[in-house]
Symmetry: C2
Subunit: 419 residues, 2 copies
């Protein structure tokens, strides 16, 4: 950590990091004095379902099966369309920017619409094309989803902030033939694979019962694992699973609050870290969390890792911050471009104001950030050098208009007799 | 939950709760329009060590033994004096008021000084007199601590906001003779007993190894258990422990984040709740948490309870809010006076602003409060009808002067070569 330093931005990238006196000589058009603030790499939210934010709190404190079958799936079937995705994704991006997130992974229906919103709002994103064995809003079947996904991938190939990954939903919801299509596609295109894997013990038990094979082992057999494979959740990890993750250099995306709230289990983060697995953090969707607060999620991850490992030294504050930034970028295949403050990388930055009472006294700013600070201390956010949050004000999103749109959806959904 | 209602205050107490149109007829001197806000009972932080806030983040990510022996105890021996308690307690109260806490339990050295600060700032508190087998700042031995504690108890007997409890530190740090003195005292005075019990598996194992008895069983044998007994932590609970808690109608004070951060274990909250045990929530001290954020602690409790119980229906949002309010008041023996919005109780209130982006949409305000809201949404706080936080501004604490005092302590402590 550097004290009393300045950072210069040119053409959207970090051009200079130097002691204040040196940096100030290079000051040009606009200068920010960040007194009492910690300038950090923007947070990377490595797993979520952005537009589901419109279902936040619709159905809480229910068992997973009833939550999905009686509430979320009927609500999705009834309400999810292009307009829903537009408003829901914009709400998610607004919340994420206000929480210091400069890059997020999305995995939801109408990925083309989500990418439009991400493009317009200036944030960085991995747009994941969901693939399932059954029809979903926006795609009659997996083949159509993949066809549209390939077109979107090509459209965004040279986009400076957006990239497209493929998202077979989960081992239990995608058959071998679809997985094989995805394997061929991503190998050709060098795309990421983003997948819910081993979310619950039940998932692993059922796979063993039905197919005699653990889901991760099946994915290895089908040659899906590799450095571009993003295994989301992974609450169940035996020695062979761990060996597979290490051998194939996969990333694990840890969503501690969703795992707690749905009683899914505990991901053994410290064990993964010690084995050299890249672990990133995700909030999951706001319908099962219920926020997109990556700073809070990181705090939960740091606290929970200690109890799960039985060691108060597990996942210290500095490593936790790395998980929420550079490891997230690496999981999404973006660590050459973002995730740390290095000259040449994109200027994806967040300024945390640590001057409040609740952060005092400050012995170690990173410790105060992770253990004592809420996302309300986020003051400014830049993505590729463009300021998207200015003293908590969203510069590219009309917050009042967005709230009106959200309220309209809420009224419609809440009044629906289907729920 | 009531919508579109008004609440009237007279002589520090809730005098009226009625539909808006009715309530407005009684409007007198000052009226608040709380549009978009949720008016709730003030939060009760049932366990903490207020002045330790000055050690927040001094030594993180260390094993409990090294944290205590190499950092916290030397720091306490060197720095804790009356002035330290004054500044540290005021910082803790300021942070707690900004976080919607109207009542807290304190257990730290110089309880007379802490009670002075609590008196002056207008908050409600249980001041716990710590008792240990060895000398502590402000008391050469347990006898002196008890003698001073009795005097303080008498001084505050008729105080409308402060009461005094006795705090044998833990079963392993207080001998049988001192426990017997405390038993006699509290029986005579009808005071509460506040004690760390079964914080770790190690504590229970050592007691079994050395004395052949679990600590809670020993406390029962010594007749310390009863409705005024506040058992803090309780991460280790077997069937006999549970039976003792139920039989004696004890309260358990759950500190989930401290238990996670120090890798102490998991308190089985749902099991306690189902057995009828009164469970309250505490933040613990800021040196081991590292904040006094009871709303965040409640969220952690609600999330964690589900994973620990293996059920997504465990500790729902409404029960979690009750734990953070009425159950806390009951644990501290104050539920006749505070902890819920009822005519006749003290007007200890918090107004949460749920109009922000991150709370939208709102299907169930309590769910949004517990699962989606940070303490930055606290707008106003009243204790016994006096407004102590006005649009986040502390009305009785000079925040600028406090920050100067805190900064002075931080500089001294950080520069000390003892650490």
């Amino acid at each position: 950590m550097l004290k009393e330093h300045g950072l210069g931005i040119r053409n959207g990238r970090i051009a200079l990091i130097a002691p204040r006196a040196e940096a100030i000589k290079h000051a040009t058009r606009r200068t920010f004095e960040l007194t009492g603030m910690l300038l950090a790499p923007g947070l990377v939210n490595a797993h979520g379902h952005a537009a589901m934010t419109l279902f936040r709190g619709l159905a809480d404190d229910l068992p997973l099966k009833s939550w999905l079958q009686n509430h979320i799936w009927p609500a999705e079937a009834r309400w999810v369309n292009e307009k829903f995705i537009r408003t829901g994704t914009e709400l998610a991006i607004a919340e994420q920017l206000q929480g210091g997130i400069t890059c997020f992974s999305d995995m939801y229906f109408f990925p083309d619409i989500a990418s439009e919103v991400a493009h317009r709002t200036g944030i960085r994103a991995q747009i994941t094309v969901p693939v399932l064995d059954f029809p979903v809003p926006g795609a009659r079947d997996a083949d159509e989803a993949l066809r549209k996904g390939v077109a979107l991938f090509d459209d965004l190939k040279h986009h400076p902030r957006l990239n497209v990954a493929f998202g077979p939903h989960a081992p239990y919801s995608v058959g071998d033939d679809k997985l094989e299509s995805i394997r061929v596609l991503v190998a050709e295109m060098d795309a990421g694979i983003h997948m819910h894997v081993h979310e619950t013990a039940h998932e692993v038990e059922e796979a063993l019962r039905l197919h005699g094979e653990r889901p991760l082992a099946r994915l290895a057999r089908q040659q899906l694992l590799g450095p571009r494979f993003q295994a989301v959740h992974m609450t169940q990890i035996d020695d062979e699973d761990l060996a597979l993750l290490v051998e194939h250099n996969c990333s694990v995306i840890h969503c501690p609050e969703s795992n707690l709230k749905l009683a899914s289990g505990f991901c053994p983060v410290e064990r993964l870290w010690d084995a050299g697995v890249n672990v990133a953090i995700g909030t999951d969707g706001a319908a099962s969390n219920n926020d997109l607060d990556l700073l809070g999620e990181t705090r939960t991850a740091a606290l929970l890792a200690k109890a799960v490992a039985g060691s108060a030294t597990a996942l210290d504050a500095h490593r936790a911050l790395r998980m929420a930034t550079l490891n997230g970028a690496r999981a999404l295949g973006l660590d050459e471009h973002t995730g740390s403050l290095e000259v040449g990388k994109f200027a994806d930055l967040v300024a945390f104001d640590l001057s409040g009472l609740a952060q005092q006294p400050i012995y170690d700013p990173v410790s105060q950030l992770i253990y004592s600070s809420g996302r309300d201390c986020v003051r400014h956010v830049w993505v590729a050098g463009k300021q998207l949050l200015d003293n908590r004000h969203l510069t590219r999103i009309d917050q009042d208009r967005l709230l009106v749109d959200v309220h309209e959806w809420c009224t419609k959904i809440a009044n629906s007799d289907k729920l």
